[in-house]
């Protein structure tokens, strides 16, 4: 096994976000302690996905995107002028809503794609492929067909392949943007189990619309809300237990109990 680096603590301070002139997030303050799973919940359009993209500097790729505040990865601001966005994205991996394996590549090449894309040397390719696939609990299903095209896999397998692809970069933080929204319940359950295992070695932030999922996988939960025509923000942030069973804010209570959203 490759030696795995330890998880990092990530914290967002006063993050505000604009698209052009329109402000979509107002002063979000959240801390993601090492080895914890944090769920971001809230109705559609409240800025959860936008927020998660500020954590690995994917946000700045959108034309007209603006940002204020800072994100600290182990105490260092990832938006420092001297910090390269690529280095940030290598340390902070991301899994997307829809499985997005590279269709022209084999399963194996998908795993190695991050190293190739970032121009890093590949040592022990075989071992890295196996370790990454094992950590994403998909090794047994694909070990005999590593040279098959990635799109020959089912949707759930593709998503786990994408998780494995991120893991091959040995990230310290893994961001997951509704990773199960396109999957069936069986695949969802397996990915949730994987999240639990991964949190032993990394910090995880997951956006989800599924309240049960948030309760099953996360240690702490942040509830985002955007009132009409105002920027979104965090209404309540605390341990998952507290947010779901004893919310302080009435709006949180309404949301987690399905009264709106």
């Amino acid at each position: 096994m490759n030696s795995l680096s330890t998880a990092s603590t990530l914290s967002a301070e006063d993050i505000s976000v604009w698209f052009g002139e329109r402000q979509v997030l107002e002063k979000v303050n959240l801390t993601f302690p090492a080895n914890q799973v944090t769920a971001l919940i809230g109705p559609s359009g409240c800025g959860k996905s936008t927020f998660i993209r500020t954590l690995n500097r994917m946000h700045e790729l959108i034309p007209g995107a603006g940002l204020a505040g800072a994100v600290y990865l182990d105490g260092e601001d990832i938006y420092n002028e001297s910090t390269d966005a690529v280095t940030v994205r290598i340390k902070v991996g991301m899994v997307f809503q829809k499985p997005n394996p590279f269709p022209t590549m084999t399963i194996k090449d998908n795993i190695l794609s991050g190293l190739r894309l970032s121009g890093r040397k590949i040592e022990n390719a075989e071992e890295l492929v196996e370790t990454s696939l094992r950590r994403a609990s998909i090794w047994n299903e694909v070990k005999d067909r590593l040279n098959d095209q990635a799109i020959s896999l089912s949707g759930g397998q593709q998503q786990r392949l994408c998780i494995a692809r991120s893991l091959a970069m040995d990230p310290k933080v893994l961001l997951m943007d509704e990773p199960c929204s396109a999957l069936d319940p069986g695949s969802t359950r397996r990915i949730e189990e994987t999240i639990q295992e991964l949190s032993e070695t990394m910090t995880i932030v997951i956006v989800t619309h599924n309240m049960q999922q948030a309760q099953r996988v996360s240690d702490q939960t942040a509830f985002f809300l955007a009132d009409d025509n105002t920027p979104g923000g965090v209404v309540e942030f605390g341990s998952t237990e507290q947010v779901f069973n004893g919310p302080i804010d009435q709006r949180t209570n309404d949301y987690v109990n399905g009264h709106f959203g």
Partner: protein, 328 residues
């Protein structure tokens, strides 16, 4: 105990009647189908006409019509062999493609991935305007404005890279004008728009999550382009390039102005002031040709037509097969 099974009476199927077309619809249907068939009929008629006119020449000259390299309408019997012109067309088209493809790819990338919407629209319009430029205007510009400039480039190429056969010339005093190199540039200008627009279409249909996925894995713009965008769209891009090639091969007037047509076959000395182009040759000879030579020129047109058809067909096959993963 066995009982004879009782077959339930077969259910009676109802007759489904498509409502008769209204009178207006009937006429609409008729006129559109006439228009649609007209295109097929026209192509068939042109092909038939060419075949009819050129048959005697093709029969008389045999395979040498395509592969030989003498065109002498005054001898008896007439020797009509198109080889150098046909090869010249291909050579110029290849030069054009080599120059145009990187330009078109860069432009498409810029328009789709880099420019803000408004600028992207302006750039698209400008590139499309290039396609609307009349060929004769381009030819005159090529002759009067571009040739002096490009002949200088050719001279520089020759003085540094002359030891590579394709950049060598027999006589450096020739002026470096009217060469396949210059004709290739002119063709490149003509086909940049079509390659750009096909590539732009392919790029804009790419799943943005694939590109974001590559960037999120630590890819740079360049490595993402090379490892994800290009492999994913290569089929479509090759198809676009072949469509451009189809157009380049048939190009007539613009090349006519900037190329010295010669039956001394030029296999690949790009800077030498001699080359060939089937369509330009037809244009050059048609005015003074007698009946039999005219038929020979018709046959040349037929050959060009067939070559273009084949290239377009291949382009279509490649474009259609380009993205098998889109099917699910």
């Amino acid at each position: 105990m066995s009982q004879t099974p009782v077959n339930p009476p077969a259910q009676e199927r109802r007759k489904l009647v498509i409502k008769p077309l209204s009178k207006g619809d009937k006429w609409f249907f008729r006129s559109t189908s006439i228009a649609a068939h007209f295109a097929f009929v026209l192509v068939a008629l042109i092909l038939g006409f060419l075949l009819w006119k050129s048959w005697p020449v093709i029969q008389g000259q045999g395979f040498d019509f395509v592969f030989g390299s003498t065109w002498d309408a005054d001898s008896d019997p007439m020797v009509l062999q198109l080889g150098p012109m046909l090869w010249g067309s291909l050579l110029i088209a290849i030069v054009g493609i080599i120059i145009a493809t990187p330009m078109a790819l860069s432009m498409a990338y810029l328009i789709v991935f880099m420019l803000p919407n408004r600028l992207a629209r302006i750039a698209t319009t400008l590139v499309d305007l290039l396609a609307a430029l009349p060929s004769v205007v381009l030819g005159l510009w090529g002759l009067l404005v571009f040739t002096p400039v490009a002949s200088h480039w050719a001279e520089v190429l020759n003085s540094y890279l002359g030891w590579i056969p394709i950049f060598g010339v027999a006589d450096a005093e020739n002026g470096f004008m009217r060469s396949p190199f210059i004709a290739g540039w002119i063709v490149a200008v003509m086909i940049v728009p079509i390659i750009t627009s096909v590539t732009r279409e392919i790029f804009s249909q790419l799943d943005r999550d694939l590109i974001n996925g590559a960037l999120a894995l630590g890819g740079s713009r360049l490595s993402t382009f090379r490892r994800v965008i290009m492999p994913t769209s290569s089929g479509g891009v090759i198809g676009g390039v072949l469509l451009g090639l189809g157009r380049a091969i048939g190009e007539t007037v613009a090349i006519f102005y900037v190329l010295n047509l010669s039956f001394d076959i030029n296999w690949g000395a790009l800077l030498e002031p001699q080359g060939g182009a089937v369509a330009s040759w037809i244009l050059a000879r048609f005015g003074e040709a007698n009946g039999a030579e005219k038929d020979g020129l018709m046959a040349a047109g037929l050959v060009l037509f067939v070559v273009t058809l084949i290239i377009n067909y291949i382009a279509n096959v490649i474009v259609n097969r380009a993205q098998p993963w889109r099917k699910n």
